[in-house]
Amino acid sequence: MTVSSPLGSEMSGEDIAYGDSLVEVDGLKKYFNQDSGLLSGVSFDPNQFPPIDVGQQRVKAVDDVSFEIRRGETLGLVGESGCGKSTLGRTILRLLEPTDGTINFKGDDLATLSGEELRQKRSEIQMIFQDPQSSLDPRMRVGQIIEEPMRAHDMLDDEGREERAKELLEKVGLDPHHYNRHPHAFSGGQRQRVNLARALSVNPDFIVCDEPVSALDVSIQAQVLNTMEKLQEEFGLTYLFIAHDLSVIRHISDRVAVMYLGNIVELADKEELFENPQHPYTEALLESIPVPDPRKGEARGVLEGEVPSPINPPSGCRFRTRCPRLIAPDEYEWTDEKWDQTRAFMRAVKRRTFEPMTDEELRVEFFGGTLPQGEPGEIVEEAIDLIATDHASDELEQTQDEWDEARELLLDSFARQSICATEEPAYEIEPEYGTDAHFAACHLHR
């Protein structure tokens, strides 16, 4: 292989055996301030005196995340938009300053490296971007783009860099004669290949791939994925592969981490995660994907509601506000059926999904006519009292207040009493597939 350049011998990644930890992330947090500037965080509020508010609202994009990436593997990181997966990828590379936590890469803590040390280190850690349009400088030639990282790290001389750039073009499946072309002359898939070549130019050990194929058509996606796999083998690369598409993740990953609202909720071997998911969110995700086979069971949108704001995420388990398996609060006696009914009723009241109806109708609609026994039953009755049409006053304003009251009553008595709300979950489970540890952040496994 001609690409093993003079630098190849210095590749310190070889100190670490395949399968040993290359990157170790511990307690990583990334909070964003809402806005920046001279008077950021100072807001005008005439409802108080003095009418100025200095409270700072912070978006908790990544909140206390720990995991390791092993040399030579592909760790898939999957989650829906806004879950913080891209932020996590960028924070690991320290393109964003971490708020807290450590990022151990081959014995160095990337989180504390100083400017120049970090810059030097960047030849070993690289990134591939999602958008093939904006990730290449339109004013540069492809050759210059690929050579830029080498130049930044004083690798080779001009001729050597050009030679290497051309070799890399060939490696990623492009014509070396395109060395002098501008990016706009390439299609989306080809640009992603240029991206790959640029990342590979400095012989990195670790590459964060941020949705590298999601902007591409299916048939092109496969071409790029195959190339990425081939290069990984050839160069001994370690990937952190960020994607929202579970099919792509399943194809390319060795292990998979699932993110929800700034937390990793489940992390396991690929086969284990897809065949034996242990977190209700992972289950919901998997059930939602449409399978390209009409004979397979129908995909179902099992999740209610929407992702809460990361400014003020729910306590305990962040998924609890939408979880179909929210655990019943311990202080009451429940039958499974009555708890399910109560939970459904509580969420319906919270989101106001049903039309106002009478006391009787409510009991039948949500509880099959019989309320839960004991104290919970009394609370439910109180709530029904508040919202039933035959009890409520006519005033619209009044009704709004009563709904709010009922909602608070139900949430306070039930949802916020659940272990899901009071404790942060973190459990290790015996895997069914493979031997790797299976982490699931769900109290069902307590």
Binding site: E80, D175, Q221, A222, T227, V248, R250, F274
Partner: protein
Amino acid sequence: MSSEPLLRVENLKTQFFTDAGTVRAVDGISFEVHEGEIVGLVGESGAGKSVASMSLLRLVESPGEIVGGEITYRGETLFGLEEGPDGELRERDDMLSNEEMRTRIRGNEIAVIFQDPMETLNPVFTVGGQLREFIELNRDLSGKEARKEAIEMLREVGIPDPEERYEEYPHQFSGGMRQRVLIAMALACEPNLIIADEPTTALDVTVEGQIIDLVDELQEKYDTSFVWVTHDMGVVAEICDRVNVMYLGEIIEQAPVDELFHDTKHPYTEALLNSMPRPDRTVGELEPIEGVMPEAISPPSGCRFHPRCPDAREVCQRVHPENKEVARADGYPHNAACVKHDVFDVGYDESVPLDKEPQMTASTPSAGDDGE
């Protein structure tokens, strides 16, 4: 199943006249939609599926123009040309006027759900106001009734607290909720046919699941027919009854959904299915389709897929295959536009396989070992 289809499209051609030349975005497609079914229009970007769907309502924007073919909806001619006395093409007398299209067809007979929920709603009007306007226009309801209906519809599509949210503006809704509003708009006009143009593409997978669920449920309830435009084979398998696969402006395969996936007749469909990673099982190696889709401005000769086709032979360069029935299933034809099927009888078997020069620009080195 009624014998007369709800919508019949025959040899529809839509072209864009640009400085660089004529783009044949839709080039002679034919398909039918029957009462109560969901018909898929699937293809990669650039296949012409969105243009095709907009042509149905005669909503192609300049410099695009429908230049040929016939669209019939319940016996009415939405588009049709005939030859005039001097041999020039002119619009047929029975073709609906623009005014008739607007008042009688758009909205109240055929409604549309657009792809991008973030851009589609007007940012300066309330969600409820927009919904009410369409209901008033298409349902002969007074303002007050329309408002009631609008709120009812918002509740129907699962928008919590619809009375409150009626007064809110689009930016106060999340993407999934806006998509629900768009669905509510379509259903509220009580159309017989809904054209859904990639309605779930911009959404997260769990939200997509919710929306597909909702459509399924509502379709059962209202018995509306759908033309479902998408690039996602998963969604197709999930929701469609029959499927049309488009490639470069043409429909190259049409079949009931099960046949399409399990008895694939066109090499492009086959290749597309093989190139996809699967969520339900681990695939060892993907088999990508070589090359990229050519520009619709200068399509390849013969079969348009032949430069990328693993089964291409010499004859494919010369003969342009029409979509022909190659099998039958459930009383529906299974059509494919590929000369390798016997019905074409153009000498495929005797023809020599094409020795394709490797496409340096896009094929991957590892792609050499695919192709049966």
